[in-house]
Assembly symmetry: C2
Homo-oligomer: 163 residues x 2
């Protein structure tokens, strides 16, 4: 395969909490290896020490930690149950359009176990919903990575997305 | 946890082709272990020798192999991109309604790399779409297993679905 890695562009995935299951870590390694043949792809999972067991309080504690990643250079997209639904071709086109705008990075965010704090939902306009169904914030990492890889293969005419 | 396994009911997942990636197999073991605490859950992945490389022909060859699983006792549900979309609570209620009808088994089918033959789509009325996005027929196994487990925990008031 031709090395079509565009050095200027980086995809980032930012989530909350260590990856718990080995199969998720192994699956992420599998897809990140594939994605890295096209673009840089980095994962950051934040360790947030919770002082409370209250869902809203946990969301707020996580929001404080997420803010510096939201403020970093690049475009922010939330993976959120309130987000826009799209099929793979639409997602691929959507990504391509944003990539064409010369962002230093495209950063995808996955909320914690209770989802995003309202302040983050309000401040980030771009939101994507991967499914109408709810999945654990752990397995969403894997679902997203497969879909990002698939969308990239669509852009580049790579046969993966046809089978 | 109380053993609430209902001996009469079994969930089955039927797909095409060996599970290729270790992380998918490991993830399926993880979720099937969880599901089995509530209900029997079996997976069957059919080995279909393809005589053709043509997508429509492959669908037909797979349809012939799938037919005996479709004809086995129980209710058939296709996991299909043309299916009905639902959220987790709706999926849980949908399952519960079908389970209340005393089916011997509820059988979920995942098509091969090219999806289902039109004959199967026509003959099976119940179809569910897990996402508007397309995923590989391998990782769909994992996405489905997590969602089946999640739907079962909703039915039983198990805390998994709350975090």
């Amino acid at each position: 395969m031709k090395d079509i890695k565009a050095k200027f562009l980086e995809f980032k995935l930012i989530g909350i909490g260590r990856t718990k299951n080995a199969f998720i870590k192994d699956g992420m390694d599998f897809y990140s290896g594939r994605i890295n043949k096209f673009y840089r792809f980095n994962e950051d999972y934040l360790q947030v020490k919770h002082k409370s067991e209250d869902a809203k309080q946990i969301q707020k504690e996580e929001a404080i930690q997420l803010q510096k990643y939201l403020d970093a250079p690049g475009l922010n997209i939330l993976l959120d149950e309130k987000g826009k639904t799209m099929d793979t071709i639409q997602f691929s086109n959507y990504l391509q359009n944003h990539m064409n705008q010369s962002h230093k990075a495209i950063k995808f965010f996955i909320g914690g176990a209770y989802g995003f704090d309202a302040s983050i939902r309000q401040s980030v306009p771009l939101k994507i919903r991967l499914s109408d169904m709810t999945f654990s914030h752990q397995i969403i990492r894997l679902i997203f990575a497969e879909q990002l890889y698939r969308a990239i293969t669509v852009m580049h005419g790579h046969p993966y997305h046809n089978v």
